[in-house]
Amino acid sequence: MSGTHDVPGGVPGGAPGGVPGDPHGGRDRPGHRAALALGDDALVLAQRLGEWAGHAPELEEDVALANIALDLLGQARTLLSLVDDEDKLAYLREEREFRNVQLVEQPNGDFAQTIIRQLYFSVYQELLYGQLAGCRPEDATPVAALAAKAVKETAYHRDHAEQWTLRLGDGTEESHRRAQRTVDGLWRYTGELFQPIEGLDIDWDNLRATWTTSVRAVLEQATLRVPEGSQGAVWAAGGGRQGVHTEPFGRLLAELQYLHRSHPEASW
């Protein structure tokens, strides 16, 4: 990320519409809270997927996961720039200030875990962006404009995750076993996806129903068992939107922020 802002009529690097002297740079306005939540989802998942570069099972997957990460990073930059300086937000916030769902910070694990995490998240993001993009262009908020743009990219991410879910679930005994293990293991993080975000005009019940139908169809076709019970009923994971994160998130942030904190303003 570079800090060269070019905002006609705006304050370079500043918070658009931010209140002078506001220590949070306008982050507490509802529209900004929404941009921060969606921007953090994209940023954290981009960082996770970037960890695969050079380690994926085959070259095409190295390229695919890096491309998906790049799309997400682009979304994150646009969304976070709506709130404040993107570099400041990415590199200088503490763990409790991030508003991403806990699903995206979960470790890559084996390839199956990455793919199932991708399935759960990309189906959600495509539906969410699709609803946001549904308004008339002249009514579009900046977040809706980004959603209308990014929903087409997300469709490719979802397709990628679906194809791999089918191959892993309906593949060998070992790939099926591992896919099922992570389908069950990550299920508890999916309830949080449907926690309403202030500032977004979304039918959350409809989003949850559509998500469940879509994910169920893919899992069943992949011969995987759909976990029973509502998401998070036994042990309700979630709280990421309120700044509560799981243990692996701290290590992810350390890697993400280390260079910038050690060498402030470092650039290529």
Partner: protein, 182 residues
């Protein structure tokens, strides 16, 4: 990052014909080669949206990214500023607009020809024919090397965000396909 606040081009309000200067600015900005596909100009790619001269003389160009995360956007903006500076507009501003989203249908016929010529299968056209013509068939992706329509998908993602990797079943050559974004 090059961003904008309103996300709608305040340059050139819809329906307002560009002034001769603005048309010239559009031509100059459009003549800049794409940083990753230098055989195409930004005009071929359809990413230069508008040019505007403010009453106080300031000049502004609206640019739209192909993909949200396209790393070439910043280079494009720099190149446009440089070309405009060389033509007497030293302080031109370039800002990005997202709405309406760019689609592969914004690539001109000339752009498609140049893509195919350089070994990249162009994106297939999308949307119904203007005037409500027949429902379009899903066309095969043609091999840019031998012209065969027998090609297969290797990966949905390739050397850049905008391309997929395919292979020709006839001549066995792998090739990039500028994938559809509609």
């Amino acid at each position: 990052m090059v961003t904008d606040t309103p996300l709608v081009p305040d340059a050139a309000a819809p329906g307002e014909a560009p002034t001769p200067l603005e048309a010239e600015l559009l031509r100059l900005a459009g003549s800049v080669p794409d940083p990753e596909l230098p055989q195409l100009s930004l005009a071929d790619l359809g990413v230069v949206r508008a040019a505007h001269q403010h009453p106080d003389g300031r000049v502004e160009i609206a640019l739209t990214p192909t993909y949200t995360g396209c790393p070439a956007v910043e280079t494009m903006a720099e190149d446009i500023r440089r070309v405009l500076a060389e033509h007497g507009h030293p302080d031109a501003a370039v800002h990005t607009v997202l709405s309406p989203p760019w689609t592969t249908d914004d690539i001109t016929a000339e752009g498609r020809r140049k893509l195919a010529e350089s070994g990249i299968a162009p994106p297939r056209p999308g949307g119904p024919a203007p005037g409500g013509g027949p429902v379009p068939l899903t066309l095969a992706v043609r091999c840019p090397n031998c012209g065969s329509t027998e090609t297969e998908l290797l990966s949905r993602f390739s050397s850049t965000a905008c391309k997929a990797l395919r292979r020709c079943v006839s001549c066995r050559e792998p090739f990039d396909h500028f994938k559809e974004l509609l």
